[in-house]
């Protein structure tokens, strides 16, 4: 009798365990893929070696997994992963020097398609109509528009020189014409219903990066124009600036000078849309923080780190900073909270330059 009850207890125990596992399975069904609970990081790679890559930072393990596109698909991404854009269940990976955009499932990284035949693609953005807008430097600066399902090249629009980041807002896409190797000082505004250029806004010199703040005002980071002598020493340079624009009428609200000699390349915004972060790029030490109500740029950096790229994310009050010690070895991903405290440091891929979960309007 005694032994019998023990058996029964075992049976119950097993049933109980099975029930737990079943419950877990149910949980798993809610997870859309291995790379669901975290952020994707783009790593530029070293030019000419095809080792641009995607890393995944997982909240749960507080850990990083590198080379995930290659792990999943058995092939590498190519040369100079410039940007990643995530939208719904897709990630769009812009591979600049390989003239293509790779499309994969955002949660499993399983490859879906390759958009080829681009000429120096830089950044990608999915607009409200679901179409993909890709900026490219070739052909004197263009935006290539791709159909959301068939990936066909629906439209090609001529914009300014060296178009960089794009920002989708309502029925519009704003394009920062960074000047490329030359000069520009405009934003192009595209109406996404007709895919037509509807406005050109004059801003500071060489605008590169765009965000929308909590009050629905557009901020533009202008890098400043630099020309070099034959020996690559600087010939002339104009100041870097922040320009605030009212998207209702595309009028410039204010222009704030940042620096005559420091030329940051990346602008991001806090989760609540109230703090701007800028910095990153060649020769720039530190990330600077500025409240959207300030009228002058801060003198001291908020975090003293030589960021190759950085970004914020919509789910947590965290800044992700990529550091590239060289381009023949792994870079680092460093996480900071909004007070500037370091949360952790992780080995990323070569040349970490951006995070793929940063909507420009994360709130």
């Amino acid at each position: 009798m005694k032994t019998k009850r023990t058996h029964l207890q075992w049976a119950f125990a097993l049933l109980f365990i099975a029930a737990i596992f079943t419950a877990c399975d149910d949980d798993d069904n809610n997870i859309r893929g291995t790379f669901d609970k975290g952020v994707l990081i783009s790593n530029e790679g070293s030019f000419g070696t095809g080792n641009g890559s995607i890393s995944y930072y997982s909240y749960e393990g507080d850990s990083i997994a590198n080379n995930i596109f290659q792990e999943v698909n058995g092939r590498q991404l190519g040369d100079v992963v410039q940007d990643i854009e995530t939208h719904d269940d897709k990630v769009y990976i812009v591979v600049n020097a390989s003239n293509k955009v790779e499309i994969a499932n955002r949660f499993t990284l399983t490859q879906k398609a390759t958009l080829e035949g681009l000429k120096g693609p830089r950044y990608a953005e999915v607009a409200g109509n679901g179409q993909l807008y890709v900026s490219q430097w070739g052909e004197n600066g263009q935006i290539r528009v791709f159909h959301k399902e068939t990936y066909e090249n629906a439209d090609t629009l001529n914009v300014g020189n060296g178009p960089e980041e794009l920002l989708a807002y309502q029925n519009y896409v704003y394009v920062a014409n960074g000047g490329g190797y030359g000069y520009d000082n405009t934003l192009t505004v595209i109406n996404t219903n007709q895919n037509e250029v509807v406005d050109t806004i004059e801003v500071g010199d060489c605008p590169k990066s765009l965000v929308m703040d909590a009050n629905d005002k557009l901020w533009v980071l202008c890098h400043g124009y630099i020309t070099y002598n034959n020996d690559f020493s600087i010939n002339i340079q104009t100041p870097s600036q922040l320009v605030q624009i009212n998207p209702e009428n595309n009028q410039v609200l204010q222009t704030i000078d940042i620096s005559q000699t420091m030329h940051p390349g990346k602008l991001a915004i806090s989760r609540d849309g109230n703090t701007l972060y800028y910095g990153g790029g060649y020769g720039v030490q530190g990330i600077y923080a500025m409240n959207i109500n300030e009228t002058s740029a801060p003198g001291e950096p908020f975090i003293n780190v030589a960021a190759y790229g950085f970004g914020t994310e919509p789910d947590k009050d965290v800044l992700y900073v990529g550091v590239a010690p060289s381009f023949s070895e792994s870079g680092k991903l460093i996480r900071y909270d909004y007070a500037g405290n370091k949360l952790g440091e992780y080995t990323a891929g070569v040349g970490p330059n951006g995070i793929g979960k940063t909507p420009e309007r994360p709130f």
Partner: protein, 632 residues
């Protein structure tokens, strides 16, 4: 340091003056003056591999690089077929391997590299590979070793002319014509080479969705080379000239990630050497001068910076005087002075970029009567502009306890001078760079045994090399700049075996070489610490078997290159190891005085899908047919 040089030279010159009185008439000087005394007489203790005539004959219309790839443990890095090709030895970088043509280093003043892709093997009569550091003998850049390319031309050679046509897969056509003639006191040779190829080969593109079979595009090349040599006897003295012009027009194919590419490049080189050798009593005097011009015109219409073209050029003139002196019956002393002026007017350097290099070197060789042992001490001091570079000594020993066996040992300090790019490029160059500095040692044993119709040669060498101050580009104050920060430790083992069997008209030769190389990043506390350098395989083997019957021959080559990493910290995927095999069949028809040689080559016999440089595809199985007419 200066003091040591001074003492050494006082000691040497004392020896020199004392030795002069020992000169005797009984010493018989060789009729033929050796024009490369250092290579032939003073590389004691170093492993020097001569490419055999047979290997050369098979490869006449192929490149020197292909030949080195098949027959030596040199590491050949090529960007696809006919792309930029460099050579390196013993786990060092390509600018750590000197390529010496008729006595002068061909390393580019701009980047220290040498592009071998254009050189047909038929242009060079004598190719030798010296493994290991030879800084004292050959100066800057001879750290991993030296590839010696010499044109040899006799006085009054037999008249001969030959034309080699080669037809290959992917619309590859090459022609090599050579003529040789002379008078009683002269010799003349002319070689002309032309190649054109589409190189539109098929490969499996593992880097695109579903790994499609594709064809390479934008990969065509056109090459022209002319090499003219003269030798003139002036009594017992000999004057030689070698003038070499080459022009290369090539398209630059995309790597496996990119669908198309539009870039193209034109390279132009002129190299000229005049050398004079004269025996006088116990002396052999040599004077040589060379001029080297290089020009690269790169054009990429895809460039978005508005300047699709970029032109770079550099020049150098080099002179050398050298005296090889038989001090006593078993002592020789070779002393020389080298001066080079290098300059470039590339727009990426400051206007008037130039460099003066002067060195003084001396080798003392002592050897026993029956040549049972020999030892060579070499010293070199180089001055660059007004700076001393490190004082470079080396010591080589050879000892044969019995006829069949010899032991070799070599200990050398080595260095590499920074290139123009490293010193001056843009505003990133670092004019305060010091030369890279290190030492190397190796120890070898060679055993040769002849048993009836069989000859067996076995050799093994262990080597060890350290370089301090290896120059790499590092970020400093927000910009990238080269600095003397890396330390590299290379060590390894090489095993060479050769078996020859000879009977009647049959001759069989089997060659096998194995190299184990650990070349690691040291002294840096990062993820790079202790890791094998990029692109250096730990294991490689080169084997070949040849069967000859009368004028017919069959050869099979096989090479294995181990896994190679393409990041310094080994992150990401390495390039997979690969095996390649090739077959060559050849026969010669003789209708004196005309000979016709016919040959067929099957390359990549096993149809391996492989890469030499990451993501630059190499062709699958492909074919070449050769027909050579020669008239003697």
């Amino acid at each position: 340091m200066k003091k040591i040089v001074l003492i050494a030279f006082i000691a040497l010159s004392a020896l020199y003056s004392r030795a002069q009185s020992l000169t005797t008439d009984t010493l018989k000087l060789e009729e033929v003056v050796v024009s490369a005394p250092r290579l032939i007489n003073y590389t004691t203790g170093a492993k020097v591999q001569r490419i055999t005539d047979l290997t050369q004959e098979k490869n006449r219309a192929n490149s020197v690089a292909d030949m080195l790839q098949q027959a030596t443990l040199a590491s050949i890095k090529s960007y696809g077929v006919d792309g930029l090709t460099s050579v390196s030895l013993r786990g060092a970088g390509s600018n750590h391997t000197a390529v010496v043509w008729n006595g002068f280093s061909l390393q580019s003043p701009m980047n220290g590299g040498v592009d071998m892709s254009q050189w047909p093997a038929g242009f060079i009569e004598d190719v030798q590979v010296q493994y290991g550091g030879a800084g004292a003998l050959y100066g800057s850049g001879a750290i991993g070793g030296v590839v010696h390319l010499n044109n040899t031309l006799q006085i009054n050679p037999d008249f001969s002319t030959s034309v080699t046509h080669q037809l290959g897969s992917f619309h590859s056509y090459s022609t090599l014509a050579s003529f040789k003639m002379g008078t009683e006191s002269t010799g003349h040779a002319l070689k002309i080479y032309h190649k054109s190829a589409e190189n539109n080969f098929e490969f499996i593109n593992t880097q695109r969705i579903n790994s499609p079979r594709e064809r390479t595009s934008n990969a065509a090349v056109k090459k022209i080379g002319i090499l003219q040599s003269n030798a003139i006897a002036l009594g017992k003295s000999k004057l030689e000239t070698h003038l070499w012009y080459e022009f290369n027009d090539k398209e630059i194919p995309p790597n496996m990630f990119k669908a198309t590419n539009e870039a193209q490049q034109e390279d132009e080189h002129f190299r000229g050497v005049v050398s004079f050798s004269s025996p006088w009593q116990q002396h052999n005097f040599h004077a040589r001068a060379g001029i080297f011009l290089e020009k690269t015109d790169y054009y990429n219409p895809e460039t978005t910076d508005g300047e699709p073209g970029s032109l770079s050029q550099a020049q150098s003139v080099r002179t050398e005087v050298e005296n090889d002196f038989r001090v006593a019956e078993h002592i020789t002393l070779n002393t020389g002075l080298h001066y080079a002026y290098l300059w470039s007017n590339a727009s990426t350097y400051p206007i008037g970029t130039n460099q003066n290099r002067a060195s003084i070197y001396s080798s003392l060789k002592l050897f026993s009567k029956n040549n049972q042992w020999a030892s060579t001490l070499t010293l070199r001091q180089e001055f660059v502009d007004d700076h001393f570079t490190p004082f470079i000594p080396s010591l080589g020993l050879r000892y044969s306890p019995i006829k069949q066996v010899s032991f070799q040992a070599n200990l050398a300090r080595n260095y590499r001078l920074p290139t123009f790019n490293e010193l001056y490029w843009g505003n990133w160059g670092n004019p305060d760079l010091q030369p890279e500095d290190g030492y190397s040692s190796d120890l070898g044993i060679k055993w040769i045994e002849a048993l009836g119709n069989n000859t067996l040669e076995l050799g093994s060498t262990v080597f060890h090399s350290r370089i301090q101050d290896w120059i790499i580009w590092v970020p400093a104050q927000g910009k990238w700049s080269p600095d003397n920060v890396q330390k590299v430790w290379s060590r390894g083992v090489e095993v060479d075996a050769k078996w020859t069997y000879h009977t009647g008209q049959w001759r069989t030769t089997v060659n096998a070489r194995y190299g184990f190389t650990r070349s690691t990043n040291e002294g840096e506390h990062s993820a790079k610490q202790g890791k094998q350098l990029m692109y250096v395989p730990q294991h490689e083997t080169k084997t070949s078997a040849t069967v000859r019957y009368k004028k017919h021959s069959f050869t099979y080559f096989h090479s294995y290159i181990g896994k190679r990493y393409i990041t310094e910290d080994h992150s990401g995927l390495p390039i997979e190891a690969y095996h390649t095999g090739s077959v060559q069949l050849s026969t010669t028809l003789e209708w004196q005085p005309v000979n016709i040689r016919l040959a067929a080559h099957i390359n990549n016999l096993w149809n391996a899908s492989y890469q030499v440089m990451a993501f630059y595809p190499m062709p699958l199985r492909n074919y070449q047919f050769t027909i050579e007419f020669s008239f003697k």
